[in-house]
């Protein structure tokens, strides 16, 4: 899920910047990245997001799931997102 401290700054067209105010670092996101970021709410899994992506973009590649996972990994390694662990009861 998205780090709640990180700011999504939608700049122009559908491009955006993720701004981490604690470090001052900023990361550019293309429109697909913005779409994914908005679904990092702790309720959607990477599979859910890949499915949503495929239904939103008719030209989404077949390996969209891999791209989603790559972006999430990159966000996590930069402290912009984290994993939410599902608790089985």
């Amino acid at each position: 899920m998205a780090n709640p401290l990180v700011v999504l700054r939608e700049e122009f067209d559908d491009w955006a910047v993720l701004f981490d105010p604690d470090t001052g670092n900023a990361f550019g996101l293309n429109p697909v990245g913005v779409f994914i970021w908005k679904l990092l709410d702790g309720r959607h899994t990477a599979d859910d997001i890949a499915l949503a992506l495929a239904s939103e973009w008719s030209d989404a590649p077949e390996n969209a799931r891999e791209h989603v996972a790559e972006l999430i990994e990159s966000l996590v390694s930069n402290g912009l997102a984290g994993y939410k662990i599902a608790m089985d009861r």
Partner: protein
């Protein structure tokens, strides 16, 4: 022209009050010199709006920001809204408690302290007795707490011969990573004290040579966006381009000297929203009354400033016959306003042709 949805940064004159009356202060006697200090609640409401608009950076200036007794909750309001901040100060009112608070926010880009000389005689000349010692104490306090601190040196008639010692003091004795320079511009109180304060052409020539030499001695540690060092770099590039018969670079030959209105806005101490602290006469709206995003995207005065870049320098009588037009930016709109009463005019302060006609000389090109 692509415009961001909202401004990225905001300059805020958080108070009109100051404990000093520097002879070249750009604030006093400008349109920002109002008699109203807004309440903490007003600023906090405004910061909430900035947060909703994903503004990234706020710079607090004045007047003197450290005069505000409520500076700590002001900073908390910025932090709460996921922004970072910087503070421009004369450095004389910084105490341990507020520096500790700044440190604990972990959101401070820098505190910029004005230092105008290596010793009290030069610094205090236009800033008032005792201000040098207190400002240096302020810098040391910031350093002890690990708060990023920078220095701005304003070059004027009575410190131009002290620049070498100033660089040594700041970079070697205080161990600062760097400092920036400008010069006393024709704004605010400087307009009334111009002859006493501003560099004459010969001093400007000396300042350029000295600062370029110091820049070589301290690589990457002395910078300038205005004043003699910035002018030397810009103007030497222009004369080189002319000599080599180069074509104009993109944007040159037009009023392209400032891109600030593409990235940020400013606010006066009374809450008037303005394009830039130095263009404080141009009221665009009021905080907590007018929508900042609406002003940013739709205000006609901002739109006019943004299309300055389509105004040809060759169309101005002022520039007629100048061989440097293809390489020139027209300089700062704020000094164009204070000198010509028109921000959409080339600035005489930034005019190479005029500098040379007055007997100015650019430093020799370094050997390649």
């Amino acid at each position: 022209m692509r415009l961001m949805n909202t401004p990225r940064s905001m300059e805020i004159s958080i108070t009109p009050r100051c404990n000093l009356r520097c002879r070249y202060c750009s604030h006093f006697s400008s349109a920002s010199d109002v008699d109203q200090d807004l309440r903490l609640e007003d600023w906090l409401d405004f910061f909430d709006e900035l947060g909703r608009n994903a503004v990234m950076d706020v710079t607090l200036e004045g007047g003197e920001p450290f005069l505000r007794q409520d500076l700590a909750p002001i900073l908390d309001g910025i932090v709460k809204n996921r922004m970072r901040f910087g503070i421009l100060t004369n450095g004389t009112l910084i105490d341990d408690a507020i520096v500790h608070h700044i440190e604990t926010t972990r959101r401070c880009n820098q505190v910029q302290v004005s230092i105008d000389g290596s010793r009290p005689e030069t610094h205090d000349r236009f800033r008032g007795e005792g201000s040098f010692e207190r400002a240096i104490q302020g810098i040391r306090l910031l350093q002890r707490h690990g708060v990023p601190v920078s220095v701005r040196v304003t070059v004027h008639k009575h410190n131009v011969d002290d620049l070498e010692a100033t660089a040594r003091m700041l970079l070697e004795e205080l161990g600062l990573p760097g400092f920036s320079t400008n010069s006393a511009s024709f704004m605010g109180l400087c307009r009334a004290h111009a002859d006493e304060v501003r560099l004459d052409t010969a001093q400007r020539t000396d300042a350029m040579a000295t600062l370029l030499r110091l820049q070589k001695r301290y690589p990457g540690r002395i910078s300038a966006a205005a004043g003699p060092l910035a002018e030397a770099v810009l103007w030497m590039g222009m004369t080189r381009a002319l000599r080599e018969g180069r074509e104009a670079e993109p944007g040159r030959g037009f009023l392209s000297g400032c891109g600030g209105v593409m990235s940020g806005l400013a606010v006066r101490p009374d809450g008037a929203i303005i394009p830039c602290i130095q263009l404080s006469h141009m009221e665009l709206g009021r905080i907590n009354r007018d929508d900042i995003k609406g002003i940013w995207q739709d205000h006609p005065a901002l739109a006019r400033l943004r299309v300055r870049t389509a105004t040809r320098l060759g169309d101005f009588e002022f520039c007629r016959g100048c061989v440097y037009i293809p390489y020139c930016t027209g300089g700062c709109p704020a000094t164009a306003y204070t000198m010509m009463h028109d921000e959409n005019h080339p600035s005489p302060e930034g005019c190479l042709k005029r500098f040379l006609e007055d007997g100015g000389r650019l430093p020799d090109e370094p050997e390649r």
